[in-house]
Amino acid sequence: MKTDTDATPAAAAAAATDAILTDMADGSHRALVVDSPPGAGKSTLVVRAAQELTAGGERPIIVAQTNSQVDDLIERLAAAHPDTAIGRLSATDYVATPALGALTNTTVGRALGDLSGCRIIVGTAAKWATVRDGTFGWAILDESYQMRSDMLLQVVERFDRGLFVGDPGQLDPFTIVGTERWIGLPHDPTQNGVTVMLEHNRGIPVHRLPVSWRLPTSAAPTISQAFYPFTGFTAGTSEGTRALEFNTTAFGNTDLDETLAMAFATGWALHELPRRHVPRTDTETIQTAANLAGRLLDRGALATCERHQNGRPLGAGDIAIGVAHRDQADLVRAALTRTGNPNAPGVAVDTANRLQGREYEVVIVIHPLSGRRDATAFHLEAGRLCVLTSRHRQACIVVAREGIADLLDSHPSTDPVHLSVRAKFPDGWEANHVMLAKLALHRVAA
């Protein structure tokens, strides 16, 4: 890729998109890969690429990983191309969301035959896997780093060429089956589809979107360094474009306020609870995360950004709380009802797996290592922390018990070592250290 070093972010991003579309039009490659760091306009690219393909007479299909991703994409596609007939290939028990139901150029179908008039057909990988015949010229595979190689194998016969779009820094697909049988094979079915495809096809162009439009200037360098050490990216907005202000002055001056103030002023805060070994369901930690959200809603905040230059009040839907485990998510939801703020239950709460690809103004994270005695591979996984700390447009608050540094110190990465397998980077251990060093500068002791 050729980009001017001193080009504006917008120009750099445009150049990257142009290069991708040129390669796609060229037709000499069976596949293209686009690595997209958090919030780098992946969906925009997908919509744009679909448009280009349609304009060129193709009838592209889009393969996404979850139903909500499919719905999101269709809404964007329908808005961008009101004149193009779009098909949604769905399972029998799928019920269209109200937003989707309102679209006039969209058809929901159970089988390809129902969608014969559609120029673009979108579906989940699982649904595409049930389609037995028909081959399309191009497929756009969204979030393809989250698609397992065995799933790719089930859908690959439906298309001749693929545009693989995804974020390599997020969570890898996984399996509950613990086997070392396939390690070292280029076609290991537990690997992500992109890696396997690249292993078997030399000379596939790998593009990279260079600008994160989501992450603020306060976050982009840290996330880039911790999770994308070899392929950095920059923030799309400049210093001062994004800002948070309280609608009220602190009337309690509690540690919650101190943390919120830190986050509002610097974009980061580490709300550190006293050192203690606790189970992951620890009420104090969970309630604190909920209370931070409640307190933020109580006090009210005005968010300024490039889209709302005169500010916009933050609502519960602008806030998310991210956790590592599902039971923690359930407990946080319950804790939100206890905050006393009537809107608090509207705050989104989910695990890293489910937060992938989503975006909020403020994200509160319960650190996966908080209060633990040992650091397992699950809790150290770089992708998990990456997802949690890269969902925000304004600020990220991490809630943790003191002692994570010691924990990291005593648990060097203990991943098994295999022959002829490249070590996976970023290393979760290393990435955790980078994040912790950053957070230490924004620490508020509770």
């Binding site: 203990t414 022959l419 070590a423």
Partner: protein, 379 residues
Amino acid sequence: MKAPVDDRLDALRGSAKRLDYSARSLAALENNPRCTLRALLDASGSDKAAIAAHAGHPSPFGQSAFALARGNVFETMVKDNGCAELLRLLRETLQLTLPEVGYEDLNDIGGDGRAEVRHDRTKQVLLQAARGNGGGTLFDHPMLCLPVGGHKAFLEPDLVAFRIGGRFHVVEIKSFPIIDGQADPTQVRAATTQACAYIIALRNLLARVGIDKQAVSDTIVLVAPKDFTNRPTAAFVDARKQVAALSRQLARIERIGDLVDLLPEGLTFDLGLDKDKRARRPAEELAEALDQVPATYRPDCLNHCEMAFYCRSRARADSSLDVLGPAVREQFGGIDTTTMVLGLAQGRLTPTQDQVEMAAALRHAARLRAELNVLGGAE
């Protein structure tokens, strides 16, 4: 005023001869790095096996003569006839060119096998190679030296290969098999961690004359029997993470002073060896001394550490949950003992404020188990 750290470490060891770090003991650093007892015993050069045995918990780490013999025979075979097999493998894996066959035997220097002598010679030939004025490609058993905690540790890789215009590669020759491209991950890991010590030592040697660490590759070449044959095969192992991890652990050793400062004055693990090398110190007295140092026992230690059986018995005596392993332990958050778990579960103990939540969960679990036992689900 406290005595200097080194003096205190010497006092801990007592009259016994100092055991230096080896690649094996350095590699062991990555297991349970937080254990104070282990750190102190290692840093003081104490003989852990002898100490554990005298304290009544001999370590079962004998090595089978078969394994030893097999290892030696295989290494010899790989290096026989001017490293014929090895050259074939390195030509395949490292793309060594035809002229790159120069062989330097560093097992002894004109019959002199002393570590210092071999180290001097190693330094000389490796630096020549690095600077491009030596013809050497294969360096057989070079003697490297790494200062660890202010003491010299001599380290001896099986072989270092130097690719002209390229970099040094550590070659490990192991006798566990590579079957259909896969080998036992535990063994690979152990071999890799050892090789990391060599990489670090080699980089250290070059760094002293200003040669960048990039001159030493962090990919190691593992040579091992192919499938069930005696023919060797080679595989790459990406050791980047282990090199980073071991470097961090080595940096920790430098902070041993912090640990030493916490010890009671006059503490020693001296065995009181007599002239026949028999331990004369009363075993209880030794055990008392050991008990004064915190140990972090994990069942995994049984695979690695000579002190593990001692530590396990200590953990059992304390009713520590550590005995049951991390999977069980994790369920109980900050609770440390089985007594406390059961006390809370049965409602016999009143939870502290920290424990309220855990106590409720425990009572729920205990109620469920009681329900089941009443149902007589299992005889």
